[in-house]
Amino acid sequence: MSMRGLLRLLPQVLLFDGDIYWQVKARPRALYHGVLLLLLLGVALGLAGAAGTIVAHGASPDPGEWARAAERGVLSLPIVQRLSAAERERLLPLLRGFLRRPQPGLHLLFTTPLGLLAGWSIYGLLAQAAARLLGGRGRLSDTLACTALAEGPRALLLLPFLPPLGPAALGVEAWVLAARFQALRAAQGLDGWRAFWAALTAALILAALGLAWALLWLWAGGRA
């Protein structure tokens, strides 16, 4: 299956056609093409993200001024005022990291594909382990190739004027999770419920790791 062939499968991924993952599994060099697809998607998402932050920068107040005003306002909230000085001191780095707004820049061109590849590979490893525990018979390369295609719904985020979505990104994440469930079912030859638990367990562990990473990043960013 060529790269172009893999791209042609994207609409079917979006329409939850579970049969395509069997086709991917049966083809040679599926993992190589899957990684290329992810890199392409990551660069495209990075470009769209960079354009989005430029538009958001024009539409919104100066990020530095906004962050300073927001910090002053949050610290003057009655609920925060009730904290002791030491507790407020501990809260400050996290708050500063949280209030920091994205600066327009091309760094997204590098960080987005790397983040996508890291998320996919960690999810793939976790899902492989969970599926094996539940009786899966597929190889790691099958899991990685099929779950690479399951990242396809992220192409929905390829809109240049898209603002940071926040909780509204949950729909795309749910779409990817449902596609990953179908991918695991084919890659591991599992029945529906076992594939469901394998996909969900790996997603929950990845979400917990992601949350811990985000908190650490916010804390470190706030102290910088």
Partner: protein, 237 residues
């Protein structure tokens, strides 16, 4: 296209047999997703115009925030929360509203007009994602519960049937009608929810009690989580 229009008409008449025939077609989900997009953009464009208008003519922070705080205080007075907790909630909400107003009135690099227009455009572009974030996780959760309860419906078929709830939301632009916005919002949401419940129950093939469990369990779980979080806030206050 004719089949899709027939499906839309059958949903408006709550005709289960037509719904099942249509949702089994391969093109049903693609059509349903297009319907979701159209409904989101119809409502999103109207709210983007209203948002840009409000941004341009935003009054200085003060009276509107005080009015919202007073409404919240009235509402909380009828709740079983202790008076000191009510007072703290109102004080924090007033401070948060003041902060929101202050942040919104900061100067923008491209000027107020261009900034507000861009903000409106971003609001319209994000509208389909907001609808997706509500519809897809909820429907996937309902689908999983329905399967656990014995439904034989497929994923694509269930998702296609559930998209028909967006039909009334094609009229979401009516919410921009001055004075009638809240009434249209309630009527269109209730109509959409009725179509959703009917479509999910019909497609799952479960009896009424089981279909009700599959439909309400995700909402109950979400409400429980929200109640736990609220209780946590009350304890902190």
């Amino acid at each position: 296209m004719a089949a899709a229009l027939h499906a839309a008409w059958s949903a408006l008449r709550f005709d289960a047999a037509s719904l099942q025939r249509w949702s089994a077609r391969r093109s049903a989900l693609a059509w349903g997703l297009s319907l979701l997009l159209a409904a989101s953009l119809a409502g999103g464009l109207a709210s983007a115009l209203a948002g840009a208008q409000a941004c341009l003519h935003r009054p200085p922070p003060g009276p509107a925030e005080r009015r919202i705080s007073a409404t919240l205080a009235d509402w909380l007075a009828r709740s079983p929360l202790p008076p000191d907790v009510q007072h703290e909630l109102v004080r924090n909400a007033a401070a948060a509203l003041q902060l929101r107003g202050d942040l919104a009135s900061l100067p923008r690099p491209l000027g107020r007009q261009a900034g507000c227009a861009l903000e409106g455009l971003q609001l319209a572009v994000a509208a389909p994602y907001r609808r997706l974030a509500l519809w897809l996780p909820y429907t996937l959760a309902s689908f999983a519960i329905a399967r656990a309860l014995g439904s034989r419906a497929g994923l694509a078929q269930t998702l296609a049937a559930s998209t028909l709830y967006a039909l009334p939301h094609l009229l979401d632009f009516l919410q921009a009608t001055p004075g009638w916005g809240a009434i249209f919002a309630i009527v269109l949401s209730a109509w959409g929810a009725a179509i959703y419940a009917w479509a999910m129950a019909s497609i799952s093939g479960l009896g009424r009690p089981r279909a009700l469990i599959a439909l309400t369990l995700p909402a109950l779980a979400t409400a429980t989580l929200a109640a736990v979080l609220l209780a946590g806030v009350v304890v902190i206050l």
